[in-house]
């Protein structure tokens, strides 16, 4: 187990190193990045001075070395619009995004798993067809369009839910103020519902299809027949025998889905004016604030890599057939 962990950690380190190389290259692909930092009417001397100050006159490998050593000290450069460290700006918005992503994940799982199981049990019957048809549509609707339509119908038409805004939940929790978080909880839900549904739909549909096919495979296994012939109730067969094994491929997918949900936030946060990293990235795009975009990409990638490592380890613990060596 320890050997496996060390190897996986090394692999993750390599991957993150690759992420930094690509991010670094991205900054330099658009030409001399000095021009991002100076005003349009800057004099030639000003440009030369800024270039020297920021180290853009050095050879690229030296610049990359500096970029990397800055990274290790938690320095991802300075945001061009906020004039403060980019990492700080991103991390400050992160709880809002995490909140949204977790809520979307919860929504996707709690609907997709029962739907997938139901469809598998009614294989070939109208209920199965209906669920799969809805799932097919769910995978084909652009998330930002769903957001716009929800705003038009549920928000503006029926006036059931607010179309923008947020009541913080995770921020007070991270600050140790449990009572505030608990107090905010009922107020926060209405704001969370539409954006998280918008982010969740695609993953929900994909996961439901995966649960269904995984379930179908397990249901045809001998041990399920044995459990049934023992006279166990159908509920026990499903929960204790089938679902336990059908979970495995689903868990692997969930790690990837989380990353997918995380990247869906850029568009959805913009639509619902959700004050998270996604909207921050959108604004950074409009202001060509490349260091800020870089910081967000690196934070998301590190998060994604860590999560997939966690999923692999959990997977191995759940499936004793996999020996981690």
């Amino acid at each position: 187990m320890l050997g496996y962990l060390t190897r996986r950690l090394l692999q993750c380190g390599l991957v993150i190193l690759g992420v930094t190389v690509i991010t670094f290259c991205a900054l330099h692909m658009g030409g001399d990045p000095t021009y991002l930092y100076v005003s349009e009417r800057a004099s030639e001397e000003e440009i030369v001075a800024t270039r020297a100050k920021l180290g853009f006159d050095q050879p690229l490998p030296v610049q990359y070395g500096r970029f990397l050593s800055g990274l290790l000290q938690g320095d991802l450069g300075t945001s061009l619009t906020y004039h403060t460290p980019a990492l700080g700006v991103v991390l400050q918005r992160f709880p809002a995004t995490l909140e949204l992503t977790l809520c979307a994940m919860l929504m996707a799982i709690s609907i997709a798993v029962p739907a997938g199981v139901l469809a598998a049990f009614h294989r070939g019957r109208p209920l199965d067809g209906g669920i799969m048809l809805v799932a097919m549509f769910g995978q084909s609707i652009p998330s930002f369009w769903l957001g716009i339509m929800l705003i038009l119908t549920v928000g503006l038409g029926l006036r059931w839910l607010p179309i923008s805004g947020r009541v913080p939940l995770l921020d007070p929790l991270f600050a140790g103020q449990f009572m505030t978080a608990l107090d905010n909880f009922p107020k926060a839900i209405p704001y969370l519902l539409m954006p998280s549904m918008t982010i969740a739909l695609f993953s929900l549909a994909r996961t439901a299809r995966l649960v269904r096919s995984s379930m179908l495979e397990v249901l045809s296994q001998d041990y399920v027949r044995t459990a049934r012939s023992k006279g166990l109730s159908e509920f026990r067969v499903v929960v204790h025998h089938a679902l336990r094994n059908a979970w495995l491929p689903v868990i692997t997918m969930l790690g990837l889905e989380f990353g997918f949900l995380l990247s869906g936030v850029v568009v959805v946060e913009t639509i619902f004016s959700w004050p998270g990293v996604g909207r921050l990235v959108f604004n950074a795009i409009n202001h060509r604030d490349i260091p800020l975009v870089q910081a967000a990409v690196i934070v998301f990638s590190v998060m994604f890599v860590g999560l997939n490592l966690a999923v692999d380890v959990i997977y191995a613990r759940l499936d004793p057939r996999i020996r981690l060596t």
């Binding site: 692909m29 084909s140 503006l156 870089q294």
Partner: protein, 289 residues
């Protein structure tokens, strides 16, 4: 029975895939013959005919705006027809670029193994560590929006999927007798890869490509929505949705409903087509579904 006849017979029995293909033909027709099909010039502004509802006529009562007009008085139907070009062209070309690159690298990794395999697969792992849309955003911010950049970024974003499948399939085929035979006959590696192995590994890759076009069209729409896609002068479905946000609060529903429906139907068609192709080309996979 020839493979084509076989496919047609199978299609005739399935009604959803048939519907999907018909729909794609209509959209493809709109994309190819946009100027002939569209009722007006998609960029023609008409201040008097601003924000007309669907089916409304202009003041003289001569022109009917079937799907209404936008905030600049441009005909929504015409823009929709022209938008099909962007979605289909970007989707198809990006998948072609990413697919060829991925298949090429995957076959090399699978056939030769060793350091080439390690290098290519490590690169694939690194790319998978990025949430794709963020990678695309980062490069498009730096390179600037535009059709060519969009296709490159979306295409390069897709190669990993093809490379992994091509590699796995090539490893399976490498040991087969027909490859041995080709080698014994003195055929070179490039010849074996192209004439012997490639035709035998194409089926799963075609299935993936169909689903992939769907997700690339979704990604293109999202990027155009963020202002990173095609320039605003070129009508695109994602761009139309982005513009619809400004008039959303005043209840101009048609500006959001029509382009969104167009994207959904196109993507849905490719997804249904992919499902059918999977059942048709690879019956082992459909045993579960």
């Amino acid at each position: 029975m020839t493979p084509l006849r076989h496919a047609l017979t199978s299609l005739r029995r399935a009604k959803w895939p048939m519907l999907a293909i018909l729909l794609l033909l209509v959209i493809g027709f709109a994309a190819l013959f946009g100027p002939e099909v569209a009722p007006r010039d998609p960029n023609r502004q008409d201040i008097i005919a601003r924000l007309k509802q669907p089916m409304q006529t202009d003041r003289r009562g001569t022109t009917v705006f079937l799907l209404g007009t936008d905030g600049l008085g441009r005909d929504v139907l015409s823009r929709l027809v022209y938008g099909a070009r962007v979605s289909l062209a970007v989707g198809l070309v990006a998948v072609l670029v990413g697919g060829s690159l991925g298949i090429f690298l995957g076959m090399i990794a699978g056939y030769f193994g060793g350091w080439a395999d390690d290098l290519i697969m490590t690169l694939a792992d690194i790319q998978l560590a990025f949430p794709f849309i963020l990678l695309a955003i980062m490069f498009l911010v730096v390179l600037g929006p535009g059709v060519v950049n969009l296709i490159l970024v979306l295409g390069i974003g897709q190669w990993v999927t093809y490379a992994r499948i091509a590699r796995g399939q090539t490893i399976l085929q490498r040991e087969k007798e027909y490859v041995e035979a080709a080698k014994a006959l003195g055929q070179g590696d490039a010849g074996i890869l192209l004439t012997a192995i490639l035709p035998n590994i194409l089926a799963p890759l075609i299935i993936i490509a169909s689903f992939n076009i769907a997700s690339v069209i979704l990604a293109e729409a999202a990027l155009s929505f963020l202002g990173l896609g095609v320039p605003p002068t070129v009508p695109s479905w994602g761009g139309m949705l982005a513009e619809s946000r400004d008039t959303l609060l005043s209840g101009r529903w048609w500006l959001a409903v029509f382009p969104g429906t167009a994207i959904m139907l196109t993507v849905l068609s490719f997804n249904i087509l992919g499902d059918w192709l999977r059942d048709f080309l690879d019956p082992r996979l459909s045993a579960m579904g």
